[in-house]
């Protein structure tokens, strides 16, 4: 069966996330990350950050909700019952601190069939309130048996 590829190249509107100290603390605690720059504003400023700083993988907190419009788009048409998260790539730019407003916009990079499975690849670009890029993500979802 031919895979529907109409959505390749499609871009979705950005979603903005307001970064806060308590959310950074909650994320760092779940991962068992202990550096005080993620918990204490004094320690963060002493280390040269504007405010409590996010660990790199905190990017899931601000970027994941922004992917929903792309993932759920009927034009993409993924079958969620057989979908798995196959691969993930992140490239970090400017650091993210409490008080930042991060806007993440997704784009469909490719939809391909390999060995009977559908590979849906999305790119996300996240910028802060000053327009500086903080993250580029490449999200690969595999739908088995397309």
């Amino acid at each position: 069966m031919a895979l529907k590829t109409d959505a390749v190249g499609k871009e979705w509107a950005g979603t903005t996330y307001q970064v806060g100290r308590e959310k950074i603390k909650e994320y760092a605690t779940a991962l068992g990350i202990e550096n005080p720059v993620h918990f204490d504003v004094g320690a963060a400023r002493e280390a040269g950050f504007r405010d409590v700083v996010a660990p790199p993988m905190f990017c899931v907190v601000y970027a994941l909700p922004a992917m929903a419009p792309a993932i759920l788009d009927p034009e993409v048409g993924m079958n969620f019952a057989t979908m798995v998260h196959g691969g993930q790539e992140f490239e970090w730019g400017e650091v993210v601190c409490s008080g930042d407003e991060i806007t993440t916009a997704p784009r469909c990079l490719s939809i391909e069939e390999k060995l009977g499975n559908g590979f849906y690849v999305f790119e996300s670009t996240s910028v802060n309130q000053d327009g500086e890029q903080v993250l580029r993500g490449v999200w690969t979802n595999i739908v088995r048996g397309v």
Binding site: T29, A30, L31, I33, E34, N35, L64, Q88
Partner: protein, 131 residues
């Protein structure tokens, strides 16, 4: 210059996520997919039990690299790409290991693997750090 050489082993990270870790990670990350937090739902869709979030395991890989090579500095990790393989479960130890693959001035590239028992959770993870 980075104080690391090609072939150096990363200081390994060992973590045993407790029974409620997937719930705390769900809250922290906003990913409430029931396969991670509802044991009955997970079994009903053919999984052995509720499973760990793949992005949690990726978070451990990021942490292992930052701690081992940069004293936990959140600015060090510039790029991380992973392939998710086996499914992780709570209440079993995860071991993250790695080997330095390239050193170029301040830039270090590390091959990282996360395993749980005989299961590879993440393989071919490539981390690029600036030290």
């Amino acid at each position: 210059m980075a104080d690391f050489e090609v072939g150096d082993e990363l200081q390994e990270l060992r973590v045993t996520p407790d029974k409620y870790l997937p719930h705390r990670y769900a809250g922290a990350s906003g990913d409430y997919n029931p396969i991670h937090i509802d044991d009955e739902f997970a079994k009903a869709v053919g999984l052995p039990r509720n499973i760990l979030h793949g992005l949690y395991s990726m978070g451990l890989v990021a942490k292992a690299n930052a701690v081992a090579l940069a004293g936990g500095d959140p600015r060090a990790l510039k790029k991380l790409s992973v392939q998710f393989r086996g499914m992780g479960v709570p209440e079993q130890e995860i071991v993250v290991t790695g080997t330095v693959k390239e050193v170029d001035g301040n830039r270090v590239v590390v091959d990282t693997v996360a395993t749980q028992g005989d299961t590879k959770l993440i393989k071919n993870a490539v981390a690029e750090l600036e030290l």
